[in-house]
């Protein structure tokens, strides 16, 4: 008996609706965040992530309302992010019901944001989201929704983030996101073994074998996916039963 590998559905939201892109573009509508949250809570999801993909100032109240309505459905932890630039932004999502905050581009632009949030809410509440893309013999950090290179090594940035007070890394492979050909094992394995905090792998999942692979070979502590859960292609319960049968510690809901 040991710490379970977590399965985390992700709701990418825009204006109160769940959307999902393929390779970060080509957005399409995938449903009501509150209904999906209730379903995942009942199906045995270990956590839920809600992201505001547009992250524009004028839509912030809508996003906070989404967090409030989603949090009301959950008896599991909730992580929220998208457009968090200040401690005040962080406080707003925590007050709305989030347990953890993710930061991405804003932290690359101003790394002190990580330490400010960590001091205020604790390291366990600060998730550094890194979008990484293969570039020769290493991985580059990508910003602005995975479109621009920050000319920063992903492993180096992960360690800088942890030193600044991040308690977890949400690692998305830009090369794999939306492809459904499997998680990026070399990237996740390299980064997970390089840091002292838990790593959530994201991008490319479709089959139960992909999850088994990212836990066994990729050294991931948790795995995140969106479309395959939203579309009902993969039920969380069946996925966990498959992983348990393959000797991977998971929390099986009663």
């Amino acid at each position: 008996m040991s710490l379970a590998h977590r399965i985390i559905p992700c709701l990418d939201t825009d204006g109160g609706r769940v959307v999902k892109g393929v390779n970060f573009v080509g957005l399409r509508d995938a449903g009501d965040p509150v209904a999906l949250a209730a379903r995942y809570n009942a199906e045995g999801a270990d956590e839920l992530v809600v992201l505001d993909i547009a992250a524009s100032r004028d839509r912030r109240p809508t996003f906070l309302e989404t967090i409030r309505r989603v949090a009301a459905e959950l008896a599991i932890p909730l992580t929220a992010g998208g457009g968090i630039r200040t401690v005040e932004d962080g406080r707003a999502v925590v007050r709305a019901g989030a347990d953890k905050i993710t930061v991405n581009t804003a932290a690359v632009e101003r790394p002190q944001l990580i330490s400010e949030l960590s001091r205020e809410f604790g390291a366990q509440a600060v998730v550094l989201a890194i979008d990484a893309k293969r570039c020769g013999d290493h991985w580059d950090v990508m910003v602005c929704g995975g479109r621009e290179s920050a000319s920063l090594d992903a492993l180096l940035w992960a360690n800088m983030g942890v030193a600044a007070g991040a308690g977890e890394i949400l690692l998305t492979s830009v090369d794999r996101d939306g492809t459904q050909i499997g998680f990026d094992v070399p990237l996740t394995s390299a980064l997970s073994r390089a840091v002292t905090v838990p790593v959530i792998a994201s991008g490319g999942a479709k089959l139960p074998e992909h999850f088994k692979e990212i836990f066994k070979e990729g050294a991931a502590d948790a795995a995140l996916a969106a479309t395959i859960f939203h579309d009902g292609v993969q039920s969380i319960r069946a996925l966990k039963e498959f992983l348990a049968a393959n000797g991977i510690a998971v929390r099986l809901p009663c």
Partner: protein
């Protein structure tokens, strides 16, 4: 029954409130000495840095009414930091005093494992527990912490393991405490809160 939730500014107060509401209980938020003195049952949720809670106890003058209430024998439940603050002190902020209701210190978990200890982990039952009454033995609970009480004395009803064994459920007279977050631990967590409410009723 006057069920009181101590609100020193911790992030998880609304989650605990929601979890109690799902069980049909209403808790009053308290951030003053007077509210604590009137309480018939107390919950102390906490998450984040030990120093924030230890400082708040003094700055908001909550320490002595809290100690008085606990000494009076009213049912008390500490959650996460609310467990850690029951000890003498914590390695996370060694200069600050805890409530000193339980012997020992809170230490960091070993660096041989990933920290924070983040996620769902099952418990190892040490002795009969009122809080765990009706919870299935293999049930998982949600943890999010890097520090823990590593000395397992006879107040510990259940331990958990992450790099080292640590206290996960403590019951000592009217004092109950859990290192995990029952408000985030699905049905198993709801059962723990329900058991506390039953003890308080």
């Amino acid at each position: 029954m006057n069920l009181t939730l101590i609100d020193y500014g911790a992030g998880n107060v609304p989650s605990v409130e929601r979890a109690l509401q799902r069980l049909g209980a209403t808790a009053q938020r308290a951030n003053s000495a007077e509210c604590i003195s009137n309480a018939e049952a107390l919950l102390l949720p906490g998450v984040g840095h030990y120093a924030a809670l230890a400082r708040a106890l003094d700055q908001q003058n909550l320490r002595s009414p809290l100690l008085e209430a606990i000494h009076r024998g009213i049912p008390f439940l500490g959650i996460c930091l609310g467990l850690q603050v029951l000890f003498q002190s914590s390695e996370e902020a060694p200069e600050l005093q805890g409530l000193n209701l339980l012997r020992g210190r809170v230490s960091t978990l070993p660096s041989t494992v990933k920290l924070p200890h983040m996620g769902w982990n099952p418990l190892k039952l040490k002795q009969e527990s009122r809080l765990l009454n009706g919870v299935s033995p293999g049930a998982y609970f949600y943890f999010a912490h890097s520090f823990a009480a590593l000395d397992l004395d006879d107040s510990v009803c259940a331990s958990c393991r992450h790099g080292a064994d640590f206290a996960a459920v403590i019951e000592h007279k009217n004092i109950c405490a859990v290192q995990f977050h029952p408000e985030k631990s699905g049905d198993a967590g709801a059962r723990v809160l329900e058991n506390f409410l039953r003890m308080a009723a």
